[in-house]
């Protein structure tokens, strides 16, 4: 479904991207070095360590000399799948992340469209929109936890005793709070996408005298497809990996309904000391995410000049 909406526009006004052959000489590949070295050193190498750990029986008894922890091949993986809350956590995580991501799209897009045109106080409105995103997740969690505590303002406004931070409601609490704090990301990306649409396009559409929704539908949205496709992926991944927010909102051990992946892996390693098992869980979930992600990436063809 998402695949159709984000298919690349058939034609573009400008002609970005590398013309095929001419550039094959003098490619300044050295410019990739600073970023490349950092990524390899600080992400890929530790990732390799994490992969290794996932094959070890690393716990509080072997932590001190971790390289000497017993090698148990894929036992951690087997245990993760058959004997832990991992499948449940994946279900919860993927479900809520997808819900939040889908919900951020109309919200963020509407906000970007509404603040595109100059008006008095626009800078203030735009800054206000960004507040949820700039607040540290820890603060967001604390504020919402206070609002939603049993004797908190939410219940006193509703005049009823609802339980928001545990039980079935907690799932929706997580969805709303994560939406609250993450939609500005999509808003920002959509806004920057809107800004790169040239004046001519706007003018052409204005001359056509198209109705506003038709202009959006046929002129503006096609231009945003690329950036929105990216934004959706980023938003989904951010939601999926959001740790501090559910951790602060619900605490550990997490209530069953909001036992999300990052919290589960955190508890498994930092509270239960099953570092190997936890790494295996994280790697498994990484793989599970990577499969749909790669399908998606292929479908949206992030680079329209690739064959």
């Amino acid at each position: 479904m998402a695949i159709e909406t984000v298919a690349p526009p058939a034609a573009r006004d400008s002609n970005p991207g590398p013309p095929p052959r001419r550039r094959n000489r003098n490619r300044p590949l050295w410019m990739l070095a600073p970023g490349g070295i950092l990524l390899v050193l600080v992400i890929l190498v530790p990732l390799g360590v994490a992969l290794t750990v996932s094959l070890l029986d690393l716990d509080q008894y072997t932590l001190r000399e971790w390289t000497g922890a017993p090698f148990i091949a894929f036992d951690n993986y087997v245990e993760a799948v058959t004997d832990t809350a991992l499948p449940h956590a994946i279900w919860v995580s993927v479900g809520y992340s997808a819900l939040v991501t889908v919900a951020t799209l109309p919200v963020g897009l509407a906000a970007a469209l509404a603040t595109q045109q100059r008006f008095k106080g626009r800078a203030l409105v735009r800054s206000a929109f960004l507040i949820p995103y700039v607040l540290p997740a820890f603060v967001v969690g604390t504020v919402w936890r206070t609002i939603l505590m049993p004797a908190g303002p939410a219940n006193s406004v509703l005049g009823e005793q609802h339980l928001w931070l545990n039980g079935p409601n907690s799932y929706w609490t997580l969805v709303v709070v994560q939406l609250w704090t993450s939609w500005p990301l999509l808003y920002l990306l959509a806004a920057s996408g809107l800004q790169s649409i040239s004046e001519e396009v706007h003018e052409a559409a204005a001359l056509d005298g198209a109705a506003w929704w038709a202009k959006l539908r046929y002129v503006i949205f096609p231009h945003l497809r690329g950036v929105l496709a990216l934004a959706l992926i980023i938003a989904f991944l951010h939601n999926l990996n959001s740790f501090t927010l559910p951790y602060v909102l619900f605490g550990v051990p997490a209530p069953h309904d909001v036992e999300v992946l990052p919290v589960l892996t955190y508890v498994e390693s930092f509270q239960n000391f099953r570092f190997g098992l936890s790494a295996a869980m994280a790697v498994l979930s990484l793989v599970l995410v990577a499969i749909p992600l790669s399908v998606y990436l292929r479908a949206v063809r992030l680079n329209q000049h690739e064959n």
């Binding site: 590398p18 540290p136 303002p153 790169s196 892996t265």
Partner: protein, 285 residues
């Protein structure tokens, strides 16, 4: 009617969207503001509107929480991450967008895939890395701002680079191509053509990198010591320690949270001009 060319929504839809979103966003924020001056017991009772005005909370927090030092550390770390990551990202993106080479598609996809790695998986390995680094270099790494800087810089890179890739794709290639035909070096083209034209993208990339450094507590809580502690960690320490022994001091907590958010909000207000000013850079004027 030039301004109306940019109008994408009818006035009433625009007004409605803004109003609804402001209520959605500002209710919890106002709650923070009210709670920050309210009586702690009233907050505990679930009051939304303040019944008293404890402005002294804003004076007290500076000694209760180590906000001053935390803010300074956060500004230094997150600020330099924002700056450097945008520059590294634009260089990387420039090569990725303008040149064809083996492994390019892999790198592009890899950049996205890297963002799906959970921080909780990386915490221990990154710590081990820095510990070993410190043994090799013979100096302290963990606990310094450098360790945080390098960590955040790297974690910010995939996203910053993607932002820049997306942005540069929108820039017409004619400009730098012309310069290239004139014999300009790649470095020169990057410096004098690409970077000046990519302000909006650079600002967005920087803001995200800045936020990453500003808001992280997972890495900062184990990789800092009191001297290098960032403001988010200072806040977390403050919030978490309240859970045992004392009556929760909501007022001071909310006050310090607001203080912590303020610099970022202000920063965005300032940089908005650049975003707007560089609006048409994507098209050819």
């Amino acid at each position: 009617m030039r301004t109306d060319v940019q109008r994408l929504l009818p006035r009433w839809v625009q007004a409605a969207v803004i109003a609804v979103l402001l209520v959605f966003v500002m209710t919890p924020v106002l709650y923070m503001l009210f709670a920050s001056v309210n009586d702690d017991l009233e907050v505990a009772r679930g009051a939304f509107w303040p019944t008293s005005l404890h402005l002294d909370n804003y004076a007290k927090i500076w000694s209760t929480v180590e906000l001053g030092a935390g803010l300074a550390n956060s500004v230094v770390v997150a600020g330099s991450v924002a700056l450097v990551s945008a520059l590294v990202a634009v260089a990387t993106a420039y090569v990725l967008v303008r040149f064809q080479f083996l492994g390019r598609g892999l790198i592009l996809r890899g950049l996205l895939a890297l963002q799906s790695i959970p921080g909780t998986l990386m915490l221990l390995p990154v710590f081990v890395l820095f510990a070993n680094l410190s043994a090799v270099l013979g100096m302290q790494v963990i606990g310094t701002r450098w360790a945080l800087f390098v960590t955040y810089l790297t974690f910010a890179l995939p996203f910053s680079t993607w932002v820049m890739v997306t942005y540069l794709r929108g820039l017409p290639a004619e400009l730098d191509e012309a310069a290239r035909l004139d014999g300009a070096s790649s470095w020169r083209i990057l410096r004098s053509i690409i970077i000046p034209l990519s302000w909006p993208g650079l600002v967005v990339a920087s803001i995200f990198a800045f936020l990453l450094g500003w808001n992280d507590v997972l890495f900062a809580s184990v990789m800092t010591n009191p001297d290098s502690r960032t403001v988010a960690v200072a806040l977390q320490v403050f919030g978490a320690t309240q859970e045992g022994g004392a009556i929760p001091i909501y007022g001071q907590l909310m006050a310090s949270a607001l203080i912590c958010a303020l610099p970022v909000v202000v920063l965005y207000l300032v940089f908005q001009r650049f975003l707007v000013g560089g609006l048409t850079a994507g098209g050819v004027k």
